[in-house]
């Protein structure tokens, strides 16, 4: 058995067990609970009055902007992870500044980007 498999095989089993647990309880609820559906009961909740229109209408573009900014910054956080792990060993070999400066330049560029977004108002929810 390879060590990789030994480390990640449990995840598969635990995920399956999580599905089994939740499935079991939801099935039990299905088995024990009463079943008398009614059109009014199955209607969506809208404060007691009959529901009007479709709930899945268009929603504000702000959410898309947040998602785009998130993508940018998340990719960059992922870049930071290997750098952060390696910094300690680089330092112990006396190469601390050599690993620090490239990331400082990279983060500096990102800081400029964040500043630009800020000034353009992309970070303001209410305009």
């Amino acid at each position: 058995m390879t060590p990789q498999l030994g480390q990640y095989f449990p995840l598969l089993i635990i995920m399956l067990m999580a599905l089994v647990f939740s499935g079991l309880f939801i099935f039990l609820a299905f088995a024990f609970g009463p079943k008398n559906p009614d059109p009014n009961k199955l209607d969506v909740y809208e404060c007691g009055v009959p529901a009007t229109g479709d709930a899945r209408h268009r929603f504000s573009v702000k959410f898309f902007i947040v998602a785009m900014i998130f993508l940018l910054f998340d990719v960059e956080v992922v870049f930071l992870f290997p750098w952060a792990i390696l910094l300690k060993s680089f330092k112990s070999q006396g190469m601390g500044w050599e690993i620090f400066w490239p990331m400082a330049v990279f983060l500096g560029m990102l800081a400029v980007g964040l500043f630009y977004e800020w000034k353009r108002g992309a970070l303001d929810w209410e305009k």
Binding site: A18, F25, F30, F32, K35, V44, Y45, R56, V77, F81
Partner: protein
């Protein structure tokens, strides 16, 4: 356990290799043990939260089922088991049905990488921290699915808010965690804990002046990711009915809330592992306990870890019932205009600190520890003062 695996292998699964059967039996058992830990924890936390909320709001809270009402969570569980399982006609059925499974899956799988003591861990992954961030993102997917799939306007708004909030706060979480990864040089949670000591001045929290800041950012953004007040916009009761879980009933509803309360443990555990020394106990105590019995140090480590987690669970509950809810624009502003830039500064600050003072500055560590000690002492003093002051009004008077 070994014997059971061999029995199953010989009698039922001749085709499968023995090591696979062994692993299945071992981790199936650990999943059951985890469930037996997580389910009562989430249940009792829900009860404790209701009692604390009642205490803060000058009420009594649930006190009928069992001694002081501690069995209330069992009663609630049985009650939701007997409820009708409703699926609205407008719902997108596959999404609606799948959502609670995903929410529970994301919460439960996270427990794989969380250590309980030096030996008590399901699997010490070498990418543990990344794994935890990844699995908690599954929960976010579940919440968005619940919001979209319900076909209700309240759910839809809640789901959208949950998506925006959780992805925004993922950035400061990751950046604040980086401050510790820099110091530990590893993503494995056990290695991170091993790099710290039992005493406060050996924790990563007080290693340099940037880490207390990162600790605050991590705690705030984890609370926001767990949809807890003051950041509980996605399920804001007073404006969105109940947000993404408006249309859920019975057991499905219970699973979404189960995940939320179990998530409190995950928040506390992450903070404890990264900044507060995890399960570390003093070497002398560990040696003494090892002399008593080989399992005794593990128990002490588990209790140490659990106690630290409970402190944070209590703190988060207290936050929920003390602070008012922030607005959506304030929520986004806190994240992008304050937490993210400050977290960037923290990461670069810790990196600089490590390059200039690789061994750390002892006087700085002791200074930070002393300041933190004073803050904690003042907090405890205020809580006790508050409890004493409100005691008189709590006494039951039948004539008023």
């Amino acid at each position: 356990m070994e014997q059971l695996a061999i029995t199953i292998h010989e009698n039922y699964l001749w085709g499968a290799p023995l090591w696979a059967v062994n692993l299945i039996v071992m981790f199936g058992a650990s999943a059951v043990v985890l469930m037996l830990f997580v389910a009562p924890f989430a249940g009792i936390t829900s009860f404790v939260e209701r009692r604390i909320a009642a205490r803060i709001q000058d009420r009594i809270g649930p006190n009928r089922v069992g001694p002081q009402g501690i069995l209330q969570f069992l009663a609630d569980g049985i009650k939701s088991l007997m409820k009708e399982d409703l699926i609205p006609t407008d719902a997108d059925k596959p999404l609606f049905i799948l959502a609670p499974y995903l929410v529970f899956l994301g919460m439960f799988t996270t427990f794989v990488a969380i250590p309980f003591s030096s030996k008590l861990i399901v699997s010490d992954l070498n990418v543990g921290l990344l794994f935890i961030f990844a699995t908690s993102a599954i929960t976010a997917v579940g919440l968005v699915m619940a919001g979209w799939g319900s076909g209700s306007k309240w759910s839809m708004l809640g789901g959208m808010r949950a998506a925006a909030q959780i992805i925004s706060y993922e950035i400061p979480t990751g950046l604040a965690a980086l401050c510790v990864i820099l110091l530990a040089g590893s993503l494995s949670l056990q290695t991170i804990i091993a790099g710290q000591g039992a005493y406060p001045w050996q924790w990563y929290l007080f290693n340099n002046p940037f880490n207390p800041l990162a600790f605050f950012i991590l705690l705030a953004s984890l609370v926001a990711e767990g949809n807890r007040a003051p950041f509980d916009l996605p399920e804001a009761e007073s404006e969105l009915v109940s947000g993404y879980n408006t249309e859920y009933s019975g057991m499905r509803f219970l699973f979404i809330f189960f995940a939320e309360w179990a998530n409190l443990y995950i928040i506390g555990a992450l903070v404890t592992v990264l900044f507060l020394g995890g399960w570390q106990i003093p070497v002398g105590v560990s040696e003494w306990a090892g002399g008593v019995a080989s399992w005794f140090p593990q128990v002490l480590q588990f209790l140490t870890f659990f106690l630290k987690v409970l402190v944070f669970v209590f703190l988060i509950i207290q936050l929920r019932w003390t602070l008012p809810r922030v607005r959506m624009d304030q929520l986004m502003e806190i994240c992008w205009k304050y937490l993210v830039p400050v977290a960037f500064v923290c990461v670069m600050g810790v990196a600089l600190w490590m390059i200039i003072w690789p061994e750390g500055l002892p006087w700085m560590t002791y200074l930070l520890t002393a300041v933190a000690g004073l803050i904690v002492a003042y907090y405890c003093y205020r809580v006790i003062w508050q409890l004493r002051n409100t005691k008189a009004t709590l006494e039951f008077n039948p004539f008023v």
